[in-house]
């Protein structure tokens, strides 16, 4: 009899702890969600060309500019070292000037992230350029046949964050 009572008491204690745990964890989850929501802009790694004009980012302010290297925009200056290309998010584009090494994956259509600042003439002067790799993993033959059938694998994941930023 007393054994049954003690086991029932044990069960109700476990239930109390379960309720306490669920309550504490929900509060914690809500708190974390609020912090993340409040700081959402600070977690962004780069800004897109549309966001640069929307936010009126001043010349000289250091930013990371992300987007696709526009097709047909890549040129090399006569000194053989200075590179010019445009970064676009499909809506807006910005001309970029860069003097330095490019990652192996750099090519027209590729997503890149350039770190630097706008100069007075509205040209983005980059001090480093990183290539973004997409989530697709395919053998070369498959990629070639996909490109032929029109399903190119160019950088496409920039339009969406720009739209979200405008909506908010």
């Amino acid at each position: 009899m007393s054994l049954m009572a003690s086991s029932r008491r044990k069960g109700s204690r476990a239930r109390q702890r379960l309720i306490l745990f669920l309550a504490a964890f929900s509060f914690l989850a809500v708190a974390a969600a609020l912090v993340i929501f409040a700081l959402r802009d600070n977690f962004q790694f780069f800004v897109t060309p549309s966001q640069v004009s929307e936010r009126g980012i001043a010349p000289g302010q250091r930013i990371r500019l992300g987007g696709a290297v526009e097709h047909g925009s890549f040129t090399r200056a006569d000194d053989g070292l200075t590179l010019h290309f445009s970064i676009t998010d499909g809506v807006a584009g910005l001309p970029v000037r860069y003097k330095g090494l490019l990652p192996d994956l750099f090519r027209e259509g590729q997503c890149v992230i350039a770190e630097g600042a706008l100069d007075e003439g509205g040209i983005f002067t980059a001090t480093s350029v990183l290539a973004k790799h997409d989530e697709n993993y395919v053998p070369p033959e498959v990629a070639a046949s996909m490109a032929q059938s029109g399903g190119g694998m160019d950088c496409s994941d920039f339009a969406q964050p720009a739209e979200e930023a405008r909506a908010s």
Binding site: A14, R17, L18, F21, F25, L28, A29, A32, I36, R40, F43, Q44, F45, F46, T48, G66, L101, L102, P103, D104, L105, I113, S128, V129, L130, A131, K132, H133, D134, E135, N136, Y137, V138, P139, P140, E141, V142, A143, A144, M153, D157, P161
Partner: protein, 241 residues
């Protein structure tokens, strides 16, 4: 099923000894075929070339780094709520394994990132949240080391593990909520995996091998931990007697 019956060390040891040959065998088989498939019998990537082979090590470690943490968090909840003696023991035993997976994910990612992105490390949301995961593992292990009283250490460590569990969805969705240098999800995404089947199967084989490795080492570590507690109890009772 009454889970409390596995709190009996003899019964648990029997169960572990029955599982161990199988998990060891699966581990050898999966790593053997997985390494052959991923290093020799799978194609190079259309833009990364041979660097894609880093994925077969990086992705399983990154997935398991989070998986082991989820295991620790669940075990900690069971330990706090139902006071199952095996729960905090298995959480404690799992932590160093998960920490090693996290270190390997970070190191292989850096080795891949330098030639692919052009940088060993950047402070984007994905990389930073995984670094925080590593610090959570260190903090969890430090609490166990720092407190003399096992019961109090178990409680403090369990609370830390559960608070830190908030970081797991942040890691998973970091590449969707924010723009990052790290690419988006390749496997768990709405329109199916973005990895060609010729590369996906070697990856799954390596993942199975790492899961079997985790199960094997976890069981060994729990057995060792149980033996250590037994020795300590004997010492206490001798000192008392």
């Amino acid at each position: 099923m009454d889970m409390h019956k596995y709190a009996n060390p003899a019964r648990f040891n029997k169960l572990a000894d029955a599982i161990l040959p199988w998990s060891l065998g699966l581990m050898a088989l999966a790593f053997g075929t997985g390494l052959y498939l991923s290093l020799f019998a799978s194609p190079a990537d259309y833009q990364q070339g041979e660097m894609v082979r880093m994925m077969y090590i990086h992705v399983p470690n990154a997935v398991l780094a989070q998986g082991v943490y989820v295991f620790i968090a669940l075990a900690s909840a069971v330990s706090l709520i139902w006071k199952h003696p095996l729960a905090d023991l298995s959480a404690k035993a799992a932590a160093p394994i998960g920490a090693v997976f996290t270190v390997l994910a970070l190191v292989t990612g850096a080795i891949w990132g330098k030639p692919t992105w052009g940088a060993w490390w950047v402070w984007d949301a994905r990389l930073t949240s995984v670094l925080i995961l590593l610090f959570l593992y260190f903090g969890y292990m430090a609490i166990w080391q720092a407190m003399e009283n096992e019961t109090r250490a178990a409680k403090a460590a369990a609370i830390l593990a559960l608070v830190g569990a908030i970081n797991i969805p942040i890691i998973k969705f970091s590449v969707e909520w924010w723009n990052t240098l790290h690419q988006g999800a390749s496997i768990l995404r709405l329109d199916g995996p973005a990895i060609h089947p010729d590369m996906l199967w070697p990856l799954f084989t390596m993942m199975a091998g790492l899961v079997a490795y985790f199960v094997t080492v976890l069981l060994w570590r729990i057995k060792a931990e149980m033996a250590a507690r037994k020795v300590q109890n004997l010492r206490y009772s001798r000192a008392a007697g």
